[in-house]
Amino acid sequence: MGYIRLEKDADGIVELIFDQPGKTVNTMGLEYDEAMRAAVAELQGMVEAGGVTGIYLRSGKPNQFFAGGDIKEMLEMDLNPPADKKKEMYDGIMATKAPLRILETLGVPVAVGMNGPALGGGFEIALACHYRVAVKGIQMGLPEAMIGLMPGAGGVVRMTYLLGMQEAIGLISQGRRLKADKALEKGLVNALADDEADMHAQAKAWIKQNANTEGGVKQPWDSEGYNMPGGGPEEEANQGLTFFGPANVMVQTKNLMPAQNAIFACVVDSARVDFDTAQKVEGRYFLSLLLDQTARNMMTAFFVQMEALNRGASRPQGPEKFSCQKLGIIGAGQMGAGIATMAAQKGIEVVLKDISMENAERGKAYAEAYFDKGISKGKVTEEKKAEYMARILPSADYADLKGCELVIEAVFEDRKIKAAVTQETEAALDASAVFASNTSALPITELAQASSRAENFIGMHFFSPAEKMPLVEIIRGEKTSDETLAKAFDLAQQLGKTPIVVNDAPGFFTTRVIGKTVSQGAEMLEEGVNPVLIESAARDNGSPVGPLAAIDEISQETAYKNGQQAKADAEAQGKVWEDNAASRILDRMVNEFGRRGKVHGGGYYEYPEGGKKHMWPGLKEAYAPNGYTDMPYEDIKDRLVFSQCLEAVRAMEEGVVTNVGDGNIGSIMGIGFPAQTGGVFQAINAYGLKAFVARAKELQARYGDVFAVPALLEQRAESGELFL
């Protein structure tokens, strides 16, 4: 059976039904191209022969309309093809567009019914139809920008001609997905349907109504007197958009996201010329992204690896899906309260326990403040808030934890306290309950020694603030069972988080990786590098926050205390503690300069009231009294990134992280590793394995053994085996 079926009904309406064989969703790839070309050619013949009332496009798959481009196919394309191959690719793009253009200019009414997600290529097909009906609640949009691409089957042009430049740029460059009712408001959909049957009925009714339109049914842009909504680029009203828009794109993306540049330019360029010429323009920009490394990075991480992660690639296959009904949280500080907030919102009963009722109540108030903010933004209703709040039981009594299927401990990073909490909690729980320690660095296997059920003990490292940060790093201790791991994994997903799974070692994965870039920032500061350059280098690498600003946010005082705690912990274990640039600088910042962090009035930065933050001048006096050290800017940038990539490879070598996707996604979503690189491992692939090794060796010679190349990377560089 083919991809597309054509079925003519009694009213002369030809249904064009997408049903890609062997797939649960329809995708736009070579198979589609062939089928669509043939189907539209056949339709042309049928229309010419007469007796066609109209055409109705729909999916043959239940609740699935069309998912978009075939990413796997795109990832296999050569990044640097010869000129004639590029020409072939461009011709291929134009060939994909062609049938859609024919369809919308046949003259007969063309309607589409979207019974499920219509994203990317699928929505581009819908945009080429005259009348769009969607089942209520489905999602649609052009999300290509999220994976470094742009629509290439006419989506940019049609969206621009339909909604105008401003709206098109916003929707496409942010990759916005819209619910059907929102899409209706925007004019992207003409009608909503209650279910598939209603959808078919509405679409066909519209076709019959419009079958005899004089001059044939046309798209707005093919109709006489068409004016682009909002006007073209020369219009006075659009001068702000075209003058400041490009700068805003660059600032928002640090000029590191070629897709956003291309989308903005393509929209404006499309608006300057006629519709068919605009299609050529779009094809050229699209091709430039198909041949772009950043797009490959993002497709790899945010599509292929993310999908695998969400499907549970790192979850043991055996255990059944777990759905938590009652969750215990020990410690009602910002972290514990944040997790409680999320859980309550997801329908989980929460016991929020702290040492006093007062503390526990304070944690509950944190949730209330969060929901109130949601109300003021129109995202939460009073009823919903009441429902959520009713699920949180503040408590100072371990006995209240009875019946919790899983308990997350979020107390101070002190082994003794954690051990006591573990034992007291377990005493109140059923034997099957899971105990999860939310620690950012303490080894899980060692913490599990306090447990009487080490197989039920696991690490769940949430990131702060827990209600916002999308990642949970799950740490499997030596004795952690598959059942326990599966439960922790499922709970993370239930909370709306993306879980990655790593094995136990000091600092696990994310903490040890980000530690390296923070150390490099400190080392360079101590070496007398201009701190503004250190921060700019992080920005220009694509990091959301610089290594110095990051400490200001956490506060130097907290970082200092954490360091002291780690030191005490190491010494208690009988280990030797060595100070380092970061600890030395924190010591001076806190104890000598009283620069204790942003919340304490200032850290590395000053925060003048009503003014812009700027570097504290005392840093220069302290670390570069005789002028800044001259260091190549590329070195400053690479020290911040290479240190992390190399540490990630070491973690893989040691078996801490086994799945590349966990490393990539974890680094981006957990610790702000530059997203356009596709993550801490993909960044190495993108740089080129051999080139990366050579550059690391250069950095090692100049800046020390933190840049030494792990054997695993040497081997990969030699064999050419990418981190995939």
């Binding site: 020369e234 075209t242 003058f243 400041f244 828009g245 490009p246 700068a247 805003n248 794109v249 660059m250 600032v251 640090k254 000029n255 540049n261 903005f264 330019a265 404006v268 360029d269 201009n530 503004v532 350059l533 700019s536 280098a537 920005r539 220009d540 812009k612 700027h614 570097m615 800017y633």
Partner: protein, 399 residues
């Protein structure tokens, strides 16, 4: 290479470049023909001997569009044999027209060439002709930002304070007022209407009463550009730049005005043939491209290049005329080249009198020559920064 001589350099007064300005009612072409007729008359010029007219214009569109030089020649009483061309080199155009005329003469290809520029900013404001850098893709690839913010970048990077730029601006006003009141601007030719009635006789933007304290009250003109994304783009290009201090205002940046300038360049023989006395000789010319995001950094390298070509040093130049696009441009220039206040822009500049984009270069060449003659000095250097990162400089020497 033959000598290229300046036989005359005249200009219109500068009218406020907005509705209500005295020259707003005057078409750009009439600004040009006023000067063409005046030059023909005062030199008793046989215009059939003038081979070409090169006119610069910053917004060559609509009534300033196509080739305003040839249109003005046809419309004037000049001989039809004189041809004309329109030139665009942003703010450097007026001086570049002169340099090109000098190059033609020095090469021997032509003997007598007129050059200058025109700009009616009241009728065709900045941006009237659009421009390739306004294209989003081009802007992103070029790190395009507002020019004024480039001036603020210079101030930030050089540690030039708001007080310093305001003090400089106040001095420009005082110097210009004094020069005007004492009749130093010999090259000004009044603009007349079709009946010969004078429309404007003197520069009308000068504010003699300006004080640095008064200027300090003005709002930074380019803060909005900084805050709306251009500051961020600048920082992407200059990682050492933490924040940009926006110090430039309408009071310490060049004014928006209408006006035209015209210069006659010729060989020795061509002058003799018509009984003209050369006022000065073009010693050397230079053009350079400079970093385009800051954009305004060209005068220093252009000056160095022109000096090198002439085998001269900074000390050999008696007076400097640097277009006051923005105060920081002049202050950086002085700092970098070690030029004292007494030798630069001695009769004020564009902050006081205004900067009619395409015309300015030709205008300030005349201003400099007037002052060299008045002081009986020998050598002067004219220089301007221009859009996209262009620097231009010309050294002249009285004969």
């Amino acid at each position: 290479m033959a000598d290229a001589f300046i036989y005359d350099a005249i200009r219109t007064p500068r009218g406020k470049g907005k509705q209500g300005g005295s020259l707003y009612e005057v078409k750009p072409i009439d600004l040009v023909t006023n000067l063409l007729e005046e030059m023909k008359e005062r030199l008793n010029l046989d215009t059939s001997k003038v081979e070409d007219l090169i006119l610069a214009c910053g917004e060559p569109v609509k009534e300033q569009g196509q080739n305003i030089a040839k249109a003005a020649l046809v419309y004037s009483s000049w001989d039809d044999i004189t041809t004309g061309a329109q030139l665009h080199r942003f703010c450097a155009g007026g001086l570049d027209a002169v340099n090109m005329a000098a190059a033609k003469v020095a090469s021997g290809f032509e003997e007598l060439v007129a050059a200058g520029g025109v700009e009616s900013m009241s009728r065709l404001g900045i941006g009237a002709s659009g421009g390739a850098t306004g294209d989003p893709w081009v802007a992103m690839k070029s790190y395009f930002i507002s020019q004024g913010l480039g001036a603020d970048m210079i101030a930030t990077m050089d540690g030039i304070s708001r007080e310093e730029v305001d003090a400089y601006a106040a001095r420009s006003q005082h110097r210009a007022a004094q020069a005007r009141d004492n009749g130093y601007f010999k090259s000004i030719v009044p603009v007349r209407d079709m009946n010969g009635v004078v429309v404007l006789e003197q520069d009308e933007l000068i504010r003699a009463e300006t004080t640095a304290e008064g200027l300090a009250k003005l709002k930074p003109a380019f803060q909005m550009f900084n805050d709306f994304g251009h500051g961020g783009v600048a920082k992407l290009k200059y990682p050492e730049l933490e924040n940009i201090e926006c110090v430039h205002t309408a009071g310490n940046s060049s004014g928006i005005v209408d006006g035209a300038g015209l210069v006659l360049i010729g060989s020795e023989a061509a002058g003799k043939e018509q009984g003209l006395t050369p006022r000065a000789r073009i010693v050397s010319c230079a053009l350079v491209g400079s970093e385009p995001t800051i954009m305004l950094d060209g005068p220093v390298p252009a000056t160095q290049k022109a000096l090198k070509k002439a085998g001269l040093s900074v000390d050999d130049i008696d007076l400097f005329e640097l277009n006051e696009a923005f105060a920081s441009v002049v202050l950086r220039y002085q700092n970098r080249l070690g030029i004292p206040d007494e030798k630069i822009n001695v009769n004020g500049g564009a902050i006081a009198m205004g900067h009619p984009i395409g015309a300015t270069g030709a205008m300030i060449l005349g201003t400099l020559l007037d002052e060299l003659e008045r002081r009986d000095l020998k050598r002067g250097l004219v220089t301007l920064c221009a859009g996209g990162g262009i620097g231009i400089a010309t050294i002249i020497e009285r004969v």
